[in-house]
Amino acid sequence: MVEAITVKRRGALDHRLETINGVSLQPAKPARRVSLRAEPDGLAPLSKALGLDLPTKPKTSALADGRSALWLGPDEWLVIDESEDAEPLKDLAEVTVLHSAVDISHRNVAIIVSGSKAADVINAGCPQDLGLQAFPVGACSRTVLGKIEIVLLRTAPDTFRVECWRSFADYAFSYLSDAARGV
């Protein structure tokens, strides 16, 4: 007798969802991610292929059609696409100008931190100024959270997206929920 085998991909933070002191922590849904590196002269064709303007100003991001590009360094961007059938890597494959695009969809997971005290919770482990003046909506930065490196993106005045490596996801989630108990 042959038994049907079904294989299911499990996320690193499946079924973890917490609301503590008005701050909600929830794993973001799966997304396509691309680590993109290019010289300034490649920006125009790459922006065209991605369908958004790659930001050139430090700490800024661009968002179009569910796809966002985060400035991480003078020649480095993180492209995140949450739509179902998005293929940012395929869109970039046609570009002939010198660049490097690596699919890191499964390297990262993201935690959505939202609530009026979201910034305080993240500040428990992140030393950056997260006031709305210094870190407005759309601002993004690679930084630290406790002992790990994260990429932080503010999607709304009281909502942050915390991107971390998959193997650090448990640490990041536990750290944030501990911090939420203290605010």
Binding site: P58, L72, G73, P127, Q128, S141, T143
Partner: protein, 127 residues
């Protein structure tokens, strides 16, 4: 916590995001195999390590990832200037400083302090 100005991010960031990269402006020879042992030792191991102004490489490793150079006072830990990698040593950093600061390497004789007399070591009674 120190706030370090990153010339690429164009703002001050907490020191936890940075990592020190050792002394700056040490050029590697274009033909390293032709270097004499003494010249290689000087390039590879010997650092100035002054008390006072140091020219250092820093890396914004948990930020934009870029190396840059900084002029720092090794006594007060104060960053006097940061500049992008590849730019020459800023010449005017020294000019804006007071002539005699505590951090300067002033010989003891010029410091208006008496050199402590060394205790005489007695050798009496030793075998």
């Amino acid at each position: 916590m120190l706030l370090i100005h990153c010339p690429y991010c164009q703002e001050e960031r907490p020191e936890l995001e940075f990592r020190n990269g050792g002394e700056a402006h040490i050029a590697r020879s274009r033909d390293i195999a032709a270097e004499s042992d003494e010249a290689f030792e000087a390039f590879f191991f010997i650092r100035t390590n002054p008390k006072g102004l140091v020219y250092e490489r820093w890396r914004h490793i948990h930020g934009c990832g870029r190396f840059f150079n900084a002029v720092r006072d090794s006594v007060t830990d104060k960053f006097l200037r940061v500049y992008k990698a590849g730019e020459p040593k800023p010449a005017d950093v020294m000019k804006n400083l007071p002539e005699h600061s505590a951090w300067e390497n002033i010989p003891p004789a010029d410091q208006n302090v008496e050199t402590p007399a060394r205790d005489r070591v007695s050798t009496d009674g030793e075998a």
